[in-house]
Point group: C2
């Protein structure tokens, strides 16, 4: 038993002369997928919730005054329609409230309920430990460097996206 595990992912069978750009993209996607897979499974098993719901709660937790649907949508980087659905579910579950904005009747202000806050506070430290464990193989210096290079990539993506 304990065979050498042959890992298969998007990089498998990649031609050795593949462009650096494409290799970076595929590896980035692999890392994201692996982390999401772990976090999804853990959130489901231990808190019976999903990444999307957790992320939405986490944005609200950082915004004491709440956020509008549009602010949520841009921070979560998903469409308005998606936020509508997620919010519907969280309101049903009693974790967030959706109140009309007095100044602008088109707007809605979403806030954590106290139940929602409690639930999120219970998840946060556990979630943090999962992430720590996943990255335990990197030194602080490597993480800092990775963060910086991802920052450069993010800048590049913003620039490429912006110029048309």
């Amino acid at each position: 038993m304990n065979d050498a595990v042959t890992l298969h992912d998007r990089e498998s069978a990649l031609a050795s002369d593949t462009k650096l750009e494409l290799k970076v993209w595929l590896r980035l996607l692999t890392c994201t997928t692996l982390i999401e897979r772990e976090v999804r499974q853990s959130l489901r098993e231990r808190f019976d919730t999903t990444i999307a719901r957790f992320d939405l709660l986490s944005q609200l937790d950082r915004a004491p005054k709440g956020l509008t649907m549009g602010e949520l949508s841009s921070r979560l980087m998903v469409t308005n329609g998606n936020v509508t659905g997620l919010t519907d579910a969280l309101v049903r579950e009693g974790l967030v409230s959706r109140a009309p904005e007095p100044d602008d009747r088109r707007s809605l202000r979403i806030r954590l309920t106290s139940t929602g806050k409690q639930f999120f506070d219970a998840m946060t430290p556990v979630h943090e430990r999962w992430i720590d464990r996943l990255m335990a193989g990197l030194t602080r210096a490597e993480m800092a460097h990775l963060l910086e290079l991802l920052g450069r990539l993010k800048q590049s993506l913003a620039a490429a996206g912006a110029q048309k």
Copy 2:
């Protein structure tokens, strides 16, 4: 016009004392989401197809002898059921073929059809240029370093996932 664009994403309003691990994860996710958004839109506009279909074709393109459903599933890092649905669609579109495996009657071998190969060959160079453009803000050295650090992260993720 041309206001300073205030970028909003998952990192917005993050407490400054947030753990390095979490920052890395959120930034990684932001970068992946931004790239996927661009590629999704481009694939739809110019080739009327999706990332999932493109990725499946791309795995087949690297496997001259075709792949079984299970091999596709592990390389794409998605569930078997997902591959069943994607393959159904691509077979319908005439881009791939699904033939029974003589040696093992449980298995199916999926291959690019010549139409599929042609279609993929038409997309590849264009797709590559999109990725190049998105990463144009990084030097070769930065990309190489990023690739290496992502490799370290991938190792860490595999290690954390393996020791259950």
